[in-house]
């Protein structure tokens, strides 16, 4: 494993960063938020990202993708993170798309992966329930077998990119008890299926998340993604990949917030000098820099261990998420503090990063969750 970008990756990195810089400044996110845009992202922008090939990176050539890996994905999500681009990369590509790619029947893949790669359709994965915290096995949603179908009842919360999605893959219990890894099954439910209500939820980061309510929703057996009862394993495999994609985003976000802070330290004058001359701030800026450098290394490494299917991949995924969560929070807290009163205003972009840092921290497990998982994987 080499922690260096090859020529193609360097190109991808540059084009992605330039694209975001030119097309997705924070003013765009701000406007979507202020307009109360129900979708929370731009379909047109998503299409453009697809044209750049971002949606196809991870899918196999057989499915119409590029057959590249997480090492490339994190370059794209890092760029998106810099501009806090809200397009449905996590929900559509990383969660639902990957679940289909790994576990979907030939028919389901045929039906959905093309439109995902083209940027034509948005999908989501509904796995989180209120009160379940970060444990994907703590679900009350149930699926009961009828003659030919399954009947789903339950409620999912904060479903990433769920509002307006063309289909939602829902985790439901077909057997076993709340908290057990076995007995979870994934069902693909197309939008408009009777009994499924999708309501937009508004979080502090104004991203598209939805409350998905299922009242006797009938789903044919053919819409099962993966194997009956083994959805938990498929889900955690997909979430591990998505976690690293999110870490890429977090790395981009913390870097952008840090750049802004550093610029401010060099320009804001108090006591007749720029505030960057004060050692109290200098040392903290240097520490933030260290944290970001460490985060970058572990994000690169985690991506590569997933691509290589290395034995220690889960350990690195957890290391990356724990570190990125802590670092993003540190950097954004410090940014607001060092910007002074300006940092507290909505007009200043830094607040958007601070809010996103929290939402990202609490997606796919916070630092404490991942430290616990790390220790368990290490066997202590």
């Amino acid at each position: 494993m080499e922690l260096v970008l090859n020529e193609e990756q360097t190109m991808l990195d540059q084009t992605a960063k330039n694209f975001i810089k030119d097309n997705s400044p924070i003013t765009r996110v701000r406007k979507l938020r202020d307009d109360g845009d129900p979708l929370g992202y731009s379909k047109e922008m998503w299409k453009k990202m697809a044209e750049l090939g971002w949606t196809s990176i991870l899918f196999s050539e057989e499915d119409g993708g590029m057959g590249l890996g997480m090492a490339e994905v994190v370059l794209v999500t890092e760029a998106m993170g810099r501009g806090l681009a809200p397009e449905p990369f996590l929900g559509t590509v990383m969660l639902a798309g990957q679940a289909l790619s790994i576990g979907g029947s030939p028919e389901l893949r045929e039906q959905w992966l093309g439109p995902i790669i083209e940027g034509e359709k948005a999908l989501a994965m509904a796995y989180q329930e209120k009160g379940g915290r970060y444990d994907i096995t703590r679900i009350k949603t149930s699926a009961k077998k009828t003659t030919n179908n399954y009947l789903l009842i339950g409620e999912k919360t904060q479903v990433l990119d769920g509002f307006g999605a063309d289909a939602i893959i829902v985790s439901a219990r077909t057997s076993g008890e709340d908290g057990e890894a076995e007995g979870i099954t994934l069902f693909l439910i197309p939008a408009g299926t009777p009994g499924m209500t999708v309501t937009r939820q508004w979080r502090l980061d104004s991203r598209n998340v939805a409350l998905v309510q299922l009242k006797d929703v009938e789903v044919p057996e053919s819409n099962i993604v993966g194997t009956v009862g083994k959805g938990g394993q498929l889900l955690s495999q997909v979430i591990d990949q998505a976690t690293v994609a999110l870490c890429g985003e977090m790395l981009g976000g913390m870097s952008a917030a840090f750049d802004r802070t550093l610029g401010y330290l060099k320009e804001r004058v108090q006591f007749d000098v720029v505030i960057g001359t004060f050692q109290a701030l200098k040392h903290r800026a240097a520490k933030m820099f260290m944290e970001i450098e460490l985060a970058r290394s572990v994000v690169m490494a985690a991506a590569r261990t997933l691509d290589g299917n290395d034995a220690n991949k889960e350990i690195l995924v957890s290391t990356a998420k724990a570190r990125c969560s802590d670092a993003y929070i540190l950097v954004t807290n410090e940014a607001v503090q060092m910007l002074g009163g300006i940092g507290m205003t909505d007009e200043e972009d830094t607040g958007f990063y601070m809010k996103r840092a929290r939402a990202a921290e609490m997606t796919f497990g916070d630092a404490t969750y991942h430290k616990d998982r790390f220790a368990a994987l290490k066997g202590y």
């Binding site: 009160g131 309501t199 939820q201 979080r203 503090q337 909505d346 007009e347 809010k355 404490t368």
Partner: protein
């Protein structure tokens, strides 16, 4: 002794009889705080009647001198009064920068005429005050203020701008720092003025915070006339007043965010949240990391409150406040921020809600209160400035 007991009995029966039922037991409900003045909406229907009844006895600020409208209570009586308020868990009838900041400063520096006017207005809750210190180029370097005041007959004429003025849009009066002599050392040319916000040429523009609310404002002055009699202390003597007021402000902020002594019987909100969002196993909070962080936080809080108490016991015993007072603002506010971040961790993903479906009101509230708490280490002088003050003035560490 029996005199004090009589006093207690009379306070008790008066409060029992007159305190609105709707606010009893709600000492910690921030939504019940009434800031007074002409523009502030009533937080609950009986707020004004209750305020007037309390003000008539001087009990909105019970320890201020009776001659200016305060309650005139001595230390012992004041303590009893507070205990009786706490017995019914009553929130104070009035709060605001009048009581906590400009009032004590007027009592210290005001002329007889000024004390009569301003202290009375504050006690009766007629006037709400805001603080016009910060300017775009004068934050930590407060002495760098540029708002100019030039003498014209009996008046000053003001031109310039203030920023981050908390509740500038709801205040009736502002106390502010202006430059009256640009030709001398920064600190020497500053005067402390009192300004009626209704005066022609004052323009207030709210600024939106990251929490989505707009509690602070920009305030612009264009040829604003302020009578010379509105100077507090002497002309060009404003810096001394400014610093004295900051002392009151920092104590207030430290108390508001760090203090918060909970009545014994109520369950600590953090424990209640842990019970609800994490649950208990074998009598312990099921998540040992959260449990450890909670214990740390409550120990920090306990040590902090004991330090505040040690300081006030010292003062009561007739000693001068010790160096420990310098740590209140920075420690209290940082403690509050840690408390908020811990609450986020306890709620987990449920704390991410901003508005609308799928979140409980308490969850939505926490999100905003947490965001607002990030300002605690800025307002009233940043933590960095506080630490500089401790290092220099308390520890005697040299600048160069």
């Amino acid at each position: 002794m029996s005199e004090l007991e009589d006093f207690r009995a009379s306070v008790r029966s008066w409060l029992e009889e007159n305190a609105p039922k709707s606010i009893r037991g709600k000492v910690r409900d921030p939504a019940l705080a009434y800031w007074g003045g002409r523009k502030t909406p009533l937080p609950f229907p009986e707020a004004k009647v209750w305020l007037d009844m309390m003000a008539e006895k001087g009990w909105t600020v019970p320890f201020w001198p009776k001659e200016y409208g305060g309650g005139g209570l001595n230390k012992e009586e004041n303590k009893i009064f507070n205990q009786e308020m706490a017995r019914l868990e009553l929130p104070p009838p009035l709060t605001g920068f009048g009581i906590t900041m400009i009032g004590p400063t007027v009592l210290q520096y005001g002329t007889e005429e000024q004390k009569k006017k301003y202290i009375g207005e504050i006690v009766r809750g007629e006037v709400r005050w805001c603080q016009g210190y910060s300017e775009p180029n004068a934050g930590s370097d407060l002495a760098n203020i540029q708002t100019k005041a030039v003498v014209d007959g009996d008046d000053y004429i003001l031109n310039g701008q203030k920023i981050w003025t908390s509740y500038g849009d709801l205040a009736d009066w502002m106390f502010l720092l202006v430059r009256t002599d640009p030709g001398v050392k920064k600190q020497v040319g500053i005067t402390f003025l009192l300004l009626d916000m209704e005066t022609k040429g004052v323009e207030v523009r709210p600024i939106k915070l990251i929490s989505g609310n707009s509690p602070f404002c920009e305030v612009f002055f264009e040829d604003v006339r302020v009578p010379q009699k509105n100077v507090l202390n002497r002309v060009n003597g404003g810096w001394e007043v400014a610093k004295a007021l900051l002392g009151h402000e920092r104590t207030m902020i430290a108390n508001a965010f760090g203090g918060r002594v909970a009545p014994e019987k109520a369950e600590n909100p953090m424990e209640a949240a842990a019970r609800k969002y994490i649950g208990f196993r074998d009598g312990k909070i099921a998540d040992s990391v959260i449990r450890d962080r909670m214990a740390q936080n409550q120990m920090d809080e306990s040590c902090f409150l004991l330090t505040v108490q040690r300081n006030s016991d010292n003062i009561k015993a007739g000693h001068r406040p010790g160096p420990e007072t310098s740590i209140f603002k920075v420690y209290g506010t940082e403690l509050n921020q840690r408390r908020m971040e811990l609450m986020l961790s306890i709620l987990g993903p449920e704390c991410l809600g901003w508005e609308g479906e799928g979140f409980e009101q308490g969850e939505l509230d926490l999100c905003r209160v947490w965001l607002r708490s990030r300002g605690n280490t800025l307002e009233g002088g940043t933590s960095e400035i506080q630490l500089n003050i401790i290092a220099k003035q308390v520890l005697g560490l040299p600048d160069k």
